[in-house]
Structures are given as structure tokens and as C-alpha cells.
């Protein structure tokens, strides 16, 4: 199997894994040809997942396509890297129709542009005017402190067990006494 893939696409880099997993790294321009070859010729008909990771230290986004072949029972991982400053990626809508949904999510959450994709603008977030939220430089706690409120603590903050004992008069059993705040 590895030999067949390498014969068709000599630039793809392979990493060795055991079990039923194959791993390849492909340059981003070769992705549509690679994927359609996998689907038509080599029997990887089922697209399981398109995942994305933000490597902010290396200034890149990584996109992983995970394919599954029902006859040979093999998983195939395809990694690509995109530049983080100007993220543009090819559209693979015509190969699998479901990729449209994954791409809409990537566009909204990470800001990756797909120039040929036909889709409505908003997917999950509505009226969002900050940076795309799944980037690692978006601080969600600071956003929450800015926009929403937190519940303040009680002024007469009492210990829960003592209050219950005083109110109902029941005894705390011995095994519970060793778990104290």
C-alpha cells in the first residue's frame, strides 16, 4: 500500500506507525489531486474527519484529513501546513459533499479562507466581531470578564456541613469528618 501511494506521489513524506494507520505529509497545493486519487483509485472512500490544529509557535495552521478504506480496513492521515498570516486553502467540495460543513467551521473558527466555496456566511457564531475564536491568541477568560458578569460570593460565607448540622441537628458520620475543606 505504501509503495502504491509513493509511486503515484513521490513528494509525499511518510511516517511509520504500526497497526492499521498510515501517515503522510503533503504540500498544500497537491491536496485535491492526492485526495481524489485516494478516493477513486485506492479505495479510501470514506472521509472520517477533517481536523485542524493551531501551532502558534511555528506560525502555522495544520489541517489533517482522515480517510478510511472499507475494503482494506486502513486509516489514512494526511497532514498539511498553511501559513498563519494569510491562510488560504483549496476547496475539496466536489470530492466529498460533507467537506462543505467542515470548511465552513474552519473559516469561522480559524479564519481560513476558501475562495471557491459556496456557503452562507455565518455558521455557528452570530454577529461576531472579534478575532476568530479558536486561535490560540484569543483569551476567552478576558473576553468573559469584559462582557459578562460573575456571581459574587455570599457575604456570610459559611461552612456547609456546620450549617446543616446546626439547622437539622444531625450528626456528621466519622468517615466524612476526615474530608474537611
Amino acid at each position: 500500500m505504501i509503495a502504491k501511494i509513493k509511486a503515484a506521489f513521490p513528494e509525499a513524506v511518510n511516517k511509520a506507525y504500526d497497526g492499521n494507520r498510515l501517515d503522510f505529509t503533503v504540500h498544500k497545493d497537491a491536496i485535491p489531486g492526492f485526495l481524489s486519487h485516494m478516493k477513486e483509485q485506492l479505495g479510501f472512500r470514506h472521509l472520517s474527519h477533517i481536523a485542524y490544529v493551531d501551532w502558534i509557535e511555528e506560525n502555522e495552521f495544520e489541517i489533517v484529513y482522515i480517510l478510511w478504506s472499507p475494503q482494506d480496513k486502513v486509516k489514512l492521515f494526511i497532514h498539511t501546513r498553511i501559513d498563519r498570516e494569510n491562510p488560504v486553502m483549496e476547496n475539496i467540495d466536489m470530492i466529498w459533499r460533507q467537506a462543505n460543513t467542515y470548511q465552513r467551521e474552519m473559516k469561522e473558527m480559524l479564519g481560513i479562507q476558501f475562495p471557491d466555496m459556496v456557503a452562507p456566511d455565518e455558521f455557528i457564531l452570530e454577529d461576531w466581531d472579534d478575532i476568530p475564536p479558536f486561535r490560540r491568541d484569543f483569551d476567552t477568560l478576558e473576553y468573559v470578564n469584559r462582557t459578562f458578569w460573575h456571581r459574587p460570593g455570599r457575604e456570610d460565607a459559611q461552612d456547609v456541613r456546620e450549617t446543616i448540622t446546626k439547622r437539622s441537628g444531625e450528626e456528621i458520620p466519622d468517615f466524612a469528618k476526615k474530608y474537611s475543606r
Binding site: 492499521n20 481536523a51 493551531d54 482522515i66 460543513t101 455558521f123 455557528i124
Partner: protein, 367 residues
């Protein structure tokens, strides 16, 4: 007089939709011309939150991904961390996990009975099946302490052993459920109204299956025998003996028959698990969870929930916090592209039945 298409919103507040989502329909008369799903009412940004928690805390977020069926998600988290850190779990833990997963599958299909029939107007089935599902939730409460969110399958095994006398209680519940399945058949499947309303409705053509990546009972209702439990066996499924039911027809009726057969197969699996359960440890020691650093790497684990394939892509970079945990819900492709494809041509009254039959669960789509 020329007709124009009207837009109606099968909106977030509706007694017939599964979860909090909206379908924007363009109709002419009673027939749908085009449809557009809109999700986002339940987006909690789980994956962003998991990056801020350490490996112990992000486990508590895991089960809340999909609310009707919470156990496959915990199983995925446990197996992902075990495969990143190369932990082996004892046999007894694997058997207990399979039993918990199959009980969760029966509970989900019982809830599906209520939803599907409620969308057609047969509310009696809802009263029966949710009442029977409560017996399974009682079993979960004895085993794990919670009815809906269990937090039981932890990397390294399970959290506590089976209580005394649990096996007899499970067998009693299974006997009771098998007797009730005959009642469900008489009321629901032998009912001519149910048959007339579901045969020929919601047809998924065979070309769409590869194009859209369809999984689960929708795939098996179209005649393709494919299930993660036999394709890529995890836990101890390769030692158990069960069948994968398929049907031809690919409409709501065929999928209902597939789900009905799955309940029977799940009962069969649980009986075998209880017979074959070995004695031994129920978890292996793992390092201190507050300071656990999982080695760097990435992995993709899959499980079969009641609605299809759920997958989990986990990346770790060797620190206390997970790097990226990306879940693929089973309904992610069913609810958006597939639904928009098969709705044109159907009636408005059938939209709810089709949504229930495809197994759309809104929290899974937008996490």
C-alpha cells in the same frame, strides 16, 4: 397566478425538533422547495475550554458533548489518552466498559422510540419507552452514581468495581425489556398508520452515501453492512458473537427496523459479557492526575454510538494541558448537508420524522 415560495422557520422553539436547532424552509403549498439548517444555539466552545484545563478537568467536560448518549464520549477520551500514553488496561475493565456502552445504546434507542413516534403523533410509545428507559438509568445510578452523566470510564480502566448482586439486577432488567419489546412491536410496527407514514419517506439515495459520508443506522438501512464494532474492533468486541442487522429500502421504515434489531443484539451482547466476565483488577495505576504530562503525539480513536461513528482526534504536546481535542459527532454530516439534500420534495409534516430518523442530535454538531 404565479406562485411564490414562502419562507418559514422550523425554529428553535418547536415541539417537533430534536434539540435546539433551526431549519429554514422555502415552501410552495405544502411541498418543500429548499431547506437550510442553522445551528449554533448550543455552542459552548468545548475544545477551547479543554485547552485551559488539565487532563483531569477536561474529562468532566467530555460527557456533556452529546446529551442523550454520554458513554461513547467517555470511552473515546479514555482510549485516546491510553493510546497516547501506551497504557494497557485489564480484561475485566474492558468487559465492564462494553457492558456500560451497550446499556447506553439500549437507552438511546428507547429514547429514539419516543422521539420518532412523538413526531408522528403516537404519544403512547413515548410514555412506555421513557418509563422503561428509567430502569436502565437506575442500573447506571447503582453502578456510577449518576443518572445521565456518569464519569465512569477513566484512562486506565473504570473507576469502581461492580457492586454486589449487580449481575442479577441487570439480568432481571434485560428479561423485563425483552418482554416489553413484543408490546412495542404490536403497537408500533404492526400499526398501519406508522407503516403508511414511514414507507417511502425520507429516501437516501445510494450515491449520497459515499458523497456525504453517511454512518450508523442510516448506512445500515441502505443495505451496507458496516459497523465499527466489526471493522475496527475495540475493547473486547472481537471475542463476542453478534450480528449486524441491515435492511434494504433506505427510508424511515427500514431504519426503524434496523434500530429495533439493534436493541435485540445489544441485549444478546450484554448476556454474553456477563457470562464471560473474568475476575481481576478493574484499573491500572496512572500517575497523579493533577500533574500528569501525557507524551506528545496525535491519535484518532473511533467508537460506535447509537447514531453512528463518533471519532476523536487528540493532540498532545507533552504539557499539563491538552493541546487539541477535536470531536467528530455522528450527526455532523447528517444534519446539515444530508438533510438539505433529501428534504426538497417532502411535506412539511414529515420534516420532524425525517430529522428523528437520521438521528440528528444538535449538541454534537456544534459542541
Amino acid at each position: 397566478m404565479r406562485e411564490k415560495a414562502t419562507t418559514i422557520y422550523l425554529g428553535p422553539q418547536h415541539p417537533g425538533i430534536t434539540g435546539n436547532m433551526m431549519v429554514r424552509l422555502k415552501v410552495m403549498g405544502d411541498t418543500i422547495v429548499s431547506a437550510q439548517t442553522e445551528v449554533g444555539y448550543l455552542h459552548r466552545a468545548f475544545e477551547k475550554l479543554q485547552e485551559r484545563r488539565n487532563w483531569l478537568n477536561s474529562f468532566t467536560l467530555m460527557c456533556r458533548f452529546c446529551v442523550p448518549e454520554t458513554d461513547p464520549m467517555e470511552n473515546l477520551y479514555a482510549r485516546a489518552v491510553e493510546s497516547l500514553d501506551n497504557i494497557e488496561i485489564p480484561e475485566r475493565a474492558k468487559y465492564i466498559r462494553v457492558m456500560v456502552l451497550e446499556l447506553a445504546r439500549i437507552a438511546t434507542q428507547l429514547m429514539w422510540y419516543a422521539g420518532q413516534n412523538g413526531s408522528l403523533g403516537l404519544y403512547t410509545m413515548g410514555q412506555w419507552s421513557i418509563g422503561d428507559r428509567d430502569y436502565i438509568l437506575d442500573l447506571f445510578e447503582q453502578l456510577t452514581g449518576g443518572r445521565v452523566y456518569h464519569m465512569y470510564q477513566w484512562p486506565g480502566g473504570v473507576r469502581r468495581d461492580l457492586p454486589k448482586g449487580f449481575k442479577d439486577k441487570v439480568l432481571n432488567t434485560l428479561d423485563y425489556l425483552e418482554k416489553r419489546l413484543k408490546d412495542y412491536d404490536d403497537l408500533m410496527f404492526a400499526n398501519s398508520i406508522f407503516q403508511k407514514r414511514t414507507q417511502g419517506v425520507g429516501y437516501v439515495p445510494k450515491e449520497s452515501i459515499i458523497e456525504h459520508g453517511v454512518v450508523g443506522p442510516v448506512l445500515r438501512g441502505a443495505g451496507i453492512r458496516s459497523d465499527i464494532r466489526i471493522d475496527e474492533p475495540y475493547e473486547v468486541y472481537d471475542k463476542l458473537d453478534f450480528e449486524i442487522p441491515t435492511q434494504e429500502g433506505s427510508d424511515i421504515w427500514a431504519r426503524a427496523l434496523v434500530r429495533r434489531a439493534e436493541v435485540r443484539q445489544s441485549i444478546r451482547i450484554i448476556r454474553q459479557v456477563l457470562d464471560q466476565m473474568p475476575k481481576g483488577e478493574f484499573n491500572t495505576k496512572i500517575p497523579n492526575p493533577m500533574k500528569w504530562r501525557v507524551p506528545a503525539g496525535d491519535t484518532y480513536v473511533r467508537a460506535e454510538s447509537g447514531r453512528g461513528e463518533v471519532g476523536y482526534y487528540a493532540v498532545s504536546d507533552g504539557s499539563i494541558h491538552p493541546r487539541r481535542m477535536h470531536l467528530r459527532g455522528a450527526a455532523y454530516v447528517h444534519a446539515i448537508t444530508l438533510l438539505e439534500n433529501i428534504l426538497p420534495g417532502q411535506n412539511i409534516a414529515d420534516v420532524s420524522a425525517i430529522m428523528n430518523s437520521l438521528g440528528t442530535c444538535a449538541p454534537e454538531i456544534e459542541r
